[in-house]
């Protein structure tokens, strides 16, 4: 191939997102008639998940398909664009914002100084909330020991009265099983189910209310800038197509797992009422304001999202 690249993802090879990302690379190979060959590697294969931005920027990796929340420590704007808790009712709203509401331009304003270019945005869908305690209302979150990683999830749960615990992902399974934590911000419903989390965390919330992570598809800017226009168009088109593939593939898997779980008398799948979701969203919005103050770019993200949501009557 004319171009041979290695892209790292943020999933293990067993997760369905990984297959979707591999299909993206195959698609690009076909569309470019073999001129671009991309190797898709699982999380931690070359560097740790929170070091891929650095690796793409310095050219060790040519690109990555990842959740930008990992880079919140570089700039909180990554956390806001990557997972603005409470903003999106479903992934299509978020994709509309990124593709047609100015989100992708803002993201590029954020990453281009790092020598990285965003090809396009995807999303996984609303993550399910795994819990050992039934969470029907926002009040039920009071005192809930919930695992929350980097990004704004922690602060929002804290504002909602929960007691967030900053525990690494590898400790979630045992921690939840033994009751060190009551709930976790983890991943999509079907994957939680596959890993056996619902055998002891019997009150999953679906659709989730707390988290919709972005899948940022980006690559080294120097390489991108040097590509001919036809290949750029191919990369962008393939990425937009992957975004929908991702959402609908995961949704189909989730629905299958949800109906199996509904049939299981030991598990109660909770669908939080709209007025409670709105309550949680209002709490989240207070936190957006706090983050908007952090720097010029977070301020811009805030303005942009709020005006997008207001125009569509979603605030």
């Amino acid at each position: 191939a004319e171009y041979e690249w290695t892209f790292q993802t943020s999933e293990t090879a067993g997760e369905p997102q990984f297959e979707v990302k591999k299909a993206w690379a195959d698609n690009i190979k076909t569309m470019s008639d073999g001129r671009i060959a991309i190797e898709i590697l699982p999380v931690n294969a070359v560097v740790q998940a929170n070091q891929t931005l650095d690796a793409v920027s310095s050219g060790i990796l040519q690109g990555h398909l990842t959740d930008p929340s990992y880079f919140s420590g570089q700039n909180p704007a990554f956390g806001m664009l990557g997972n603005l808790v409470g903003a999106w009712g479903d992934p299509l709203e978020y994709l509309e914002y990124m593709q047609h509401g100015g989100g992708e331009e803002l993201y590029n304003e954020l990453v281009e100084p790092y020598g990285v270019h965003l090809i396009g945005a995807g999303a996984t869908g609303l993550e399910s909330f795994v819990s050992k305690r039934p969470i029907r209302t926002v009040d039920d979150l009071k005192g809930l020991k919930v695992r929350a990683p980097e990004g704004m999830v922690y602060n929002i749960f804290q504002k909602a009265g929960a007691a967030p615990v900053n525990l690494p992902g590898s400790e979630v399974y045992t921690g939840l099983e033994k009751g060190v934590i009551d709930a976790a911000d983890y991943t999509v419903f079907a994957t939680n189910d596959d890993q056996g989390l619902h055998s002891f965390a019997k009150y999953p919330s679906y659709p989730g209310f707390h988290s919709l992570p972005m899948v940022a598809v980006s690559m080294n800017k120097d390489i991108w800038d040097g590509l001919p226009a036809d290949l750029k168009a191919i990369m962008e088109t393939a990425t937009d197509s992957m975004a929908y593939d991702m959402v609908f593939t995961l949704k189909a898997r989730d629905l299958k797992a949800v109906s199996a779980a509904r049939a299981n008398p030991d598990v109660e799948v909770i669908d939080m009422a709209p007025e409670e979701r709105a309550k949680f969203r209002r709490i989240a919005q207070q936190e957006w304001k706090v983050w908007a103050e952090k720097n010029e770019l977070t301020g811009k993200v805030y303005e942009s999202v709020v005006s997008f949501l207001t125009e569509r009557n979603l605030m």
Binding site: G14, L167, E171
Partner: protein, 433 residues
Amino acid sequence: MDIATATMLLVGAIFALLVTGLPLAFVTGLVALGYTFGWFGPMALPLVTSRVYGFITEYSLVAVPMFVLMASLLDRSGIAKDLFNAMRLMAGRLPGGVAIQTIVVAFFLAAMSGIIGGEIVLLGILALPQMLRLGYDKHIAIGVVCAGGSLGTMMPPSIVLIIYGLIANQSIADLFTAAITPAIVLMASYILYVLIRCLRNPALGPVMPEEERRASFQSKGELIKAVGVPAMIAGLVLGSIYGGVASVTEAAAMGSFGVLVAVMLRGEFSITLMQRALSQTMNTCGMIIWIGIGAAALVGVYNLMGGNRFVSSMILGLDIPPLAIIMVMMAILLLLGLFLDWIGIAMLTLPIFVPIIIQLGYDPVWFGVLFAVNMQVSFLSPPFGPAAFYLKGVAPEGISLKDIFVSLLPFIAIQLCVLALLLLWPQLSLWLV
């Protein structure tokens, strides 16, 4: 250069540097640096230090210094000596009794921890000098410590099985359940081996002479205290984990805190003792972690070079029956186990192996247990046997790496037998799932 040649050369370079006596930590690290530089150029070198950063900030490794500190404090206070004297007394007239009890202790440790570095160091500091002091055969004592200490990744909680579950997207609950029986079989086989050896030659595990029996432990109270304190500490750690009080990693910290309190209550605490225990912890961890650092770096580079594609093409190119494919996979795992750390092996092979296993119609949970047993072998097998290196770092003077590896051979043979048993009889692991 193609990847097959590069792989050969990589293995060759590791072995060549190894025999010169260059510290292991620098062997794998140098090869990683050399390949990064040669394959990708100087701008890619930070990849190596990025792996170092990723490795040392791994949360589960926090348990390692906690276990080492626990061991060092137990050893420096009289707690360890009292415990082993009591164990010897309780062993009665059974030759090898203390070694067998050590395996049982190791089994309990395995239920407290998911990574083996801390456990082997703990047993190496506590049990090994004590068994040697009691006149036990060096080879049996060493083998028991390394093989027993490695059980930590077979018994839940086990970071190996958790990582397998995450990579293969399998139920971690099922993996934990399926691993329990093989873990018990391994433990029982070790015990049987020690028992047979010592019954045939009681000098290998001498029993306590009668007059000493009468002299030691003036009162029952003393005996209870000797066993009770360590039992309470074990109870604290196990209780923290299984009672949902603390994460597995925090439970290790709870344990070392418990030991510190016990040392204070026994009136043995002093700043000098603390300083020495902490210095030993720091030095031992430096030794353990720096071995892993080089291996971690090597895996990152090899993945970037396309090593995983190479391994998968090797398997997929085979036209042989399914069971033979599994055998080939086992052989690759064992081969990689000769010079890589388990986490590197998992990262490299599982994304390739698990889909093939599913395609062939085998149960991926069963394969997970096979993988865990393979890793048991890799911990012990020379020349890159982490268990041996960990023990070497804390072993009494006069015990060389060669002594350790020689001692491990029978235990490796036992592990291979259990592996074959699992391969032919999957129900041994799956009957509980």
